[in-house]
Amino acid sequence: MLRFLPLALFVLIAITGLTGFYLGDRDKLPSSLIDRPFPNFEAVELLDGAKTISTQDLLGKPVLVNVWATWCPTCLSEHQSLMDIRRKTDLLMVGINYKDNPEKAISWLDQQGNPFHLNIVDQNGELGIDLGVYGAPESFLLDSQGIIRHKRIGDINERVWKREFEPLLAQLSSAYDERLRVIR
C-alpha cells in the first residue's frame, strides 16, 4: 500500500500544477455573463444613422453578436466565416462596431461585404465594458429570449463553428421551434 504513496503524491502535485496553469489561461476565461440577459443598451445603427437599436431588437430568435473593428486584423480573417454563417443559418446577425471610426467601418463593410442584419455603434466602448469585452473579435450567442448562451474570445472559423456553436445552436433552434408551436 505504502509503495504507491510516492505515485499518489506525484499525481496530487501534478493536478495542482495543472489547475494553476489553466487558471491563468485568459482565453478560457469563463464569461460571468453566461446564462444572463444581454445588457441593456441603446445605440445608433452604423449604416442607418437615424435608427436607434436597443436590447428589444435582439429578442425573438437566436442571435449571433460579433464584436468587430477595422483596426482588428483577426476580424478581417474571420470575415468570410461570418459571411458563410449568414448564408447558412437563419440567425439574426448583429455586429458591434467596437471603438472604431464609423466612416472607416462603413467603407470596410462596403468592400468586404456585410454579414450583419444590424450594426451597433459602440465608439467609446461602453457596451463593450458591459459585455466584459477586452479585445476584438469576440462573439456571443444569444437565445431567442436574449440570454447569453456562449462567448467566444478570438475568431470564429469553420472548425470553431462546428465544435462550439453548431451543437448549441441546434439546441436553441429546437427550443425556439417548440416555443413557436406552443404559441400557435
Binding site: L9, L12, I13, I15, T16, T19, G20, Y22, L23, G24, R26, L29, P30, S31, S32, L33, K99, N124, G125, G128, I129, D130, L131, G132, Y134, G135
Partner: protein
C-alpha cells in the same frame, strides 16, 4: 563626493516626479480620499488583456477605458469600493481581481501545498520518534542473558 551625493539626490527627485505623474495622470478629484480610492482600486484591479499587470501599470486601450470607468463610477455614480469591485467582477469575472475569492480551483492550489507540507512534517516527526525510541529501548532480561552468553563464548 559632494557631487556624487547631489547627483543621487537629483536622481531620487526625478524618480519621485515620474512616479507621481504616472499614478495621478490628469484626473481631477473632489477630495483627496476619492483620489486615494481611485489609486487603490486601479492597483487592485487586473488588466483583463494582460497576463500579469494591474490597471495602474498598463497602457492597453482596455485598461485606459476601465480606468476612466472606475473614475466615473467614483466621481459621478458615487459607488462604494465594494460596488465597483462587484461591477467589474460581474463583467470580467474573478480574473479581474488580484485577490480572488478562495473557492473551487483556487482552493486546490492554496490548500494542496499546505497539506503537503503538513504531511511531510508528520512523516519526519514519525521517523524521528521511531529513531529515538529505538535508541532508548532497553533489552529485556531474557535478551540480556542471551547476549551475555554470546559474549562469554567469544
Amino acid at each position: 563626493m559632494a557631487i556624487l551625493s547631489k547627483l543621487i539626490l537629483l536622481l531620487l527627485l526625478v524618480a519621485v516626479q515620474v512616479e507621481a505623474s504616472s499614478s495621478s495622470e490628469i484626473m481631477e478629484f473632489d477630495s483627496e480620499s476619492d483620489r486615494n480610492r481611485y489609486s487603490k482600486l486601479i492597483s487592485e484591479l487586473r488588466c483583463p488583456k494582460c497576463m500579469n499587470t494591474n490597471l495602474a501599470g498598463s497602457d492597453a486601450p482596455i485598461s485606459k477605458d476601465l480606468k476612466s470607468k472606475v473614475y466615473n463610477l467614483i466621481t459621478q455614480d458615487g459607488m462604494t469600493d465594494e460596488q465597483i469591485i462587484a461591477y467589474m467582477r460581474e463583467r470580467y469575472g474573478d480574473f479581474v481581481l488580484y485577490d480572488p475569492p478562495l473557492d473551487g480551483a483556487a482552493m486546490i492550489i492554496w490548500l494542496v501545498p499546505v497539506g503537503l507540507v503538513l504531511l511531510a512534517i508528520s512523516i519526519l516527526g514519525l521517523a524521528f520518534t521511531r529513531i529515538r525510541t529505538a535508541k532508548n529501548s532497553v533489552l529485556s532480561e531474557e535478551k540480556k542473558t542471551e547476549m551475555q552468553a554470546l559474549l562469554d563464548d567469544v
